[in-house]
Symmetry: C2
Subunit: 207 residues, 2 copies
Amino acid sequence: MNLRTRNRPTTHLLALVGAVVTLLMSGAVADDTKRYEATFTADGELIRPSGWREWVFVGSPLTPNSLNGGEAPFPEFHSVYIDPESWAHWKETGKFREGTMLAKELTLVGATAATSGIGFFNGDLQGFEIAHKDSSRYSKDTGGWAYYSFGHKPEPYADTTAAQPIAACAACHTAAAADDMVFTQYYPILKTAKDAGDDGAGVGGEQ
Amino acid sequence: MNLRTRNRPTTHLLALVGAVVTLLMSGAVADDTKRYEATFTADGELIRPSGWREWVFVGSPLTPNSLNGGEAPFPEFHSVYIDPESWAHWKETGKFREGTMLAKELTLVGATAATSGIGFFNGDLQGFEIAHKDSSRYSKDTGGWAYYSFGHKPEPYADTTAAQPIAACAACHTAAAADDMVFTQYYPILKTAKDAGDDGAGVGGEQ
């Protein structure tokens, strides 16, 4: 058996490895689209991420005009999400990783009565905001977070936006948020999932 | 070179292949858990799916006791999700595919005041329900849907449960739901995403 012949099985095996790895990596690449690392314009504005409605929902606080003298500071439904990678990190560690993005999409209060009773039902989309944690980019005064508004209006939202002044957002988060500038006290899903691993995503029944 | 020596590189390579395939398949297997086809016990009870908090959120109707004489039929926040495969189908076709599952996790009304104003904030988890579409399994009288409650209480929820009687759920859906037994009129995300393709998940800004 000469060297060339001897190596042939190895060569074939390498080709097989290549094919298998390519096949499996194509899935892995698809997975990568679920990674939402913040990107910025040359002048430091945050670029609106894509696909946030497929992030992980954490809660829906509501302070409607009808309960705040017609002038609520935040009259819309807040639909709050965390990006998938940071959700995975939260489940494992109970911490908001550097790079965490929480998205808040607003919807108007639509219907206030239905067959299910008197209350509040999501109306039209009305704005989009991001909280982003990056201790190397933002001040210690805000715990390493910054807050961005892409518009308080229907779509299309702004493509890019500068961070809000501290008084506009960070001040209240500093004063009242329970865990690392996030109002986890109002997000039972985050409380349940903290350090819980995959069980935090909802445990299936037994067959 | 004896046979044993000659095979050693191949053996090592096979071990490497095994390790790589195992590593990559762990990701692939994780992906497969994103498909949530309903499964049933031998006597036809639906088995509670796993990981619904990572499904796609569609809306959060609320009809609190405080606005319904203290006796609201549905006093909790309803956090409503659609399973990922059915969401993808909805984005592409605007239809609820056979097999669609909508999950509804309940949370008590927790705080009713915060620095953001008077209102309603998610409290503790308080129940879990599923709407499932399968025209081959369920009656035309319910449009091919059935409704399941895994408990109106904190976790742990029931592992399996039988379909609810028509009067308990389907009757109201038949009477008032806008689109194929689903209250899409209260789910702006479903309305926005219908036939919209990936744009329905939220469009990113331009660089």
